[in-house]
């Protein structure tokens, strides 16, 4: 492989993994980033337009479909869409019955939103990796990474939302004293071991959102990289690897959405438990 070819390969991969970033560049001010360097120079005060756009679009799609089904929900014989939506709702409800011990009316809608939204965002991955970047570059947009869950900001954002709820319910159900006691006196119920317990428990608590976010992000990002690598094969050979990988991803997409949802519910359930 020639050196030029190698550069273009690297460039191709980097290009496909770069988000469309709008932010405050130290030199150019508020603008779109034209390269990965510019994007990273923007630091925290930047936003991934593609991630936000696609995730909100998927969220709206979820809201639209389910709201429509909810409006025409009858107690009679359900038809097509209603049937499908009810299946998902029942699936989530069953899952919560199995894992969530307390009683909280927000858990079920939360789990439903997480599951369907992540599922929709993940499913964007089945769309061939080149379609949208090429389409948008024709429209003059440099970068377009359409799968929001391959952006760590998106998954971490979701996980932080869940983490916020975990903290909120921990304080609400157990009280400040109860929560502090749980953090300092488990797993070893002895005053001398309070610092050790605190260290252990706080790490365990903080790891929850990160494990949630990283698991989803890691799976989706790795899958995306493989898709990009497969896309660099000669065009007549792509399907040989791409089709099995895509079929495999039908499983991954659902599984990761499910895992994220179940773990969120489990964490929230633990936040509701008294000791």
């Amino acid at each position: 492989m020639a050196a030029g070819n190698e550069v273009s390969t690297t460039y191709y991969i980097q290009h496909h993994l770069q988000n469309l970033t709008f932010g405050n560049h130290p030199e150019n001010g508020w603008s779109l980033a034209h390269s990965a360097e510019e994007a990273s120079e923007m630091g925290f005060w930047a936003i991934h337009l593609d991630t936000m756009g696609w995730s909100i679009a998927m969220g709206l799609l979820f809201i639209w479909i389910f709201r429509k089904a909810g409006k025409m929900a009858t107690t009679g014989v359900p038809s097509g869409l209603q049937n499908a939506v009810e299946m998902v709702v029942e699936f989530v409800e069953d899952m919560i019955k199995g894992t969530f011990k307390g009683h909280n009316p927000i858990i079920a809608p939360l789990a439903l939103t997480l599951f369907v939204w992540i599922l929709f965002m993940n499913t964007l991955k089945i769309i061939p990796v080149d379609y949208f970047p090429v389409l948008f570059s024709k429209l003059g947009v440099d970068y377009m990474k359409i799968v929001p869950t391959t952006d760590v900001n998106a998954t971490l954002g979701l996980a932080l939302g869940v983490f916020g709820l975990i903290l909120y319910y921990s304080f609400k159900v157990k009280g400040v004293g109860g929560f502090a006691k749980e953090l300092s006196l488990t797993p070893f119920n002895h005053w001398a071991l309070i610092p050790f317990n605190l260290l252990l428990e706080i790490v365990a608590l903080l790891v929850k959102p990160f494990s949630l976010a990283m698991r989803l992000f890691g799976n989706m990002f790795a899958g995306e990289v493989i898709f990009i690598l497969i896309a660099m094969l000669p065009f007549w050979a792509i399907w040989v690897l791409d089709v099995p990988w895509a079929i495999f991803h039908i499983l991954i997409v659902v599984l990761q959405a499910f895992i994220f949802t179940v773990l969120s519910v489990v964490y929230l359930s633990a936040a509701h438990e008294h000791h």
Partner: protein, 156 residues
Amino acid sequence: MNINMTLIGQTIAFAIFVWFCLKYVWPPISNALHERQKKIADGLDAASRANRDLELAQERAEQTLRESKEQASQILEQANKRSAQIVEEAREQARAEGERLVASARSEIEQEVNRAKDELRAQVSYLAVMGAERVLEASVDEQAHRKLLDELAAEL
């Protein structure tokens, strides 16, 4: 992968979607599901109750049938008995009537015979007198021999 404001934007979007779902999506679907569940449970309940009712009704029908059969056979038996009785009575009546007829015929015959005898007696006395007149060629005092002739006739 740069951590930036997208993180916060995502969290806000997530919160809004969860709120919307909680408010407008979950309740109607969940309600419809639970209502349908109740409806189906009620339907199954009603079906099993109807089944039980049916069984009961069948049992009752069978019992009624059995009773009516019994009644019918009873009635038939009674009718048979009654008809035999009637036939017997009729026979009895017929025999009595026959006897009565025979008796009356017999008494009539007796009367007839008696009358004939009386007539014959009267005629005999007359014939005897006539014969005697002829034989004697003389007039016999009817008055004088009347008593004798009557006694003769009575001996007939």
